[in-house]
Amino acid sequence: METDPNLQTKPSNSEVVIIGAGPAGLTAAYELLKTGINSTVVEKDGVVGGLARTVNYKGYHFDIGGHRFFTKVKVVDDMWHEVLGEDFLTRKRLSRIYYNNKFFNYPFNLSNALFGLGIWNSTMIVLSYIWAQMFPEKPEKSFDQWVTNRFGKHLYNLFFKTYTEKVWGMPCNEISAEWAAQRIKGLSLLKAIKNTLLKEQSKNKETVVKTLIDSFQYPKFGPGMMWEKVTDTLNKEGSNVLLDSDVEKICIQNNKVETIEICSKGQIKLIPGKHFISSMPIRELIQKFDPPAPKEVLEAATNLKYRDFLTVSLVIDKPDVFPDNWIYIHDPNVQVGRIQNFKNWSQDMVPLEQKTCLGLEYFCFEGDGLWSMDDRDLIELGKIELGKTGLVSTSLVEDGTVVRMPKAYPVYDSTYLESLNVIRDFLSQIDNLQLVGRNGMHKYNNQDHSMLTAMLAVKNILGANYDLWKVNAEQEYHEEISREEEQEFKDLSSTQPLVPESINQSIVDQAIIRAFSRLDKSAFATAIGVVSGLAVFLATIFLIIKGGEVIGPNLRLLGQYFIGYTVSIEGAFIGFGYSFFWGFIFGWLFAYLRNFFTGLYILRIKRKSEYSSFKDFIDYI
């Protein structure tokens, strides 16, 4: 492992305490180790990897949720390759949607969807799409309005409503439109125009999107393998990963975390530190503060909600069941949301060639009916629902197990942002505590975003000043980062000030807005009219002043069009009036046509961008 030679002000060993051994926590520890600093990682569970763990049941490996390794962040990609080496496989992606006893291609193919749904549904899709474009719902506050305005009500009802509600456990009209806007970043009109104009960039972007859709990388034995390897390295190099260690108290003094109190195998231990990085759920973090956080902060923490998740893994006595990596189950007649075929992620996930292992994913809330069901009942439910889909005969299911994953997704409901802001305000007063990861920031960060927050947190400990909340909030953040590893961090520092909202708009954006903004038709028409009128007026006056035997015999010909015009003082005014009129008409028409064709061009780019987002929309839910 290489160490960072540029390190100047580094804390000494074990002065950094990291809460949580998921991708964010372990990345932080690994990055610190690279700079020669050992840290202490505290993990509540008995396994590492957090949401990206791999469960091993009788040699069958299960991934909790299906973690595709794909990122635009070069430093993250580099770390994956560095740790996994030869064990990092490139996999082809195949996934379909199951709805109404039929399978639909995914990413969406419009013709496949229209043919598969029949004439009535296809007609309704087209009509409701046109309707949505003509009469979009305003203001756009909820997820259902956001999707309907873009894809039409009928398509939304058929393909997005059921699945979204299965995943999030709440009606789509209660999900904030902001969530969709944050997740579906490809729809930025300015970005789309920029990509279209800057051909080279556009080509790269298409390659990236294509790559995400067509293939991904995956560790031989699931994502947990990555984090087990990182843990081995940390332990070998002198860092300390404490498993089964629950944080009991976070002791604050003088606006600083002094120590954390943990309970490890029944014993209470105090871990002091100079710097603390937390990836534990914010709600729990706030509740562990000693002295307790102010009442309004505790209330805000209680308002943060999570969606939980369980996987029923079934061992099937058949070598091949279906070719997909996973299938989205949109059918409202079954509760299962997604079915993973782990063997198609990596052959090594299944110990025996003649067997297959499927993961039926159920989205639920901790303590609700599904969550509280007995494992045997859940396995039985899984078998029945698998049979209902017609994918596998229930008689082929020979074994099964259940894995419950609490707090899998932070919920973006109508109050979360307000609560989060209260908490952020409070935590900003604590100098040596940084929040990273998905639950650590109550932000729908994917694995790569979580890792990036950890990397930046480490840079902050070493003296940098990055705003971790900008990660996964601003597209440019990631694209900048993917260019030049170290330099980009420095560039970002200057472009990402520590303010809640960036007010600086890039020069390119400003230029695009200026170039594509509409002409004021009346103003342009008036300007052309005045100049045309003046031209004729001055030409007439000039010839009068010049004099001669016959004044302006040629200009007089204008009188054939401008009835009443002569080369005289009176004629100059009449000529001005006529020229102004025709100039005005010409100017107005020019501005109108210019605005019309510019609008058409923007609309075309927008539709292209929306269709591209529509194709893999489910990935973002």
């Binding site: 756009e140 439109a177 902001e178 806007a181 970043k185 729809l187 930025s188 009109l189 300015l190 970005k191 125009i193 601003e474 960036s502 708009q505 954006d509 695009i512 807005i513 200026r514 594509f516 903004s517 509409r518 002409l519 004021d520 009346s522 103003a523 342009f524 008036t526 300007a527 052309i528 005045v530 100049v531 003046l534 031209a535 030409a539 000039f542 010839l543 010049k546 302006g552 040629n554 200009l555 923007i602």
Partner: protein
């Protein structure tokens, strides 16, 4: 929501013209236009007029009523370019100035 406000900004923005640039563009365009049509007629050579005389560009020659010193000749093409450039620049600048003035006035009220 940044994306949304960007989109709104784009769709609501009214263009302002760069009057100097518009003047320069129109000036060069007018100047070149007169230069080229003059040169073209000179290269084409004299044509028989209804009065039975051979003349070069009798109609374009009328420009000399406004552009003193202009003629349909090689030197005239240069003089025509200068006149055309001047008229185009003034016209373009004036169009931009009037347009911007009206737009800003409308935005103000």
């Amino acid at each position: 929501m940044t994306n949304r406000s960007d989109e709104e900004k784009l769709l609501e923005a009214v263009a302002l013209l760069n009057a100097k640039m518009l003047g320069l563009i129109l000036g060069i365009s007018f100047g070149l236009m007169i230069f080229i049509v003059t040169i073209w007629l000179v290269i084409k050579g004299p044509q028989l007029s209804p009065s039975g005389q051979y003349v070069v560009g009798p109609h374009l020659q009328l420009l000399s009523q406004f552009f003193i010193g202009y003629s349909v000749s090689y030197i005239g093409s240069i003089i025509g370019f200068i006149y055309g450039f001047a008229v185009g620049t003034i016209s373009g600048g004036l169009i931009g100035w009037i347009y911007n003035g009206i737009v800003l006035l409308r935005q103000k009220y």
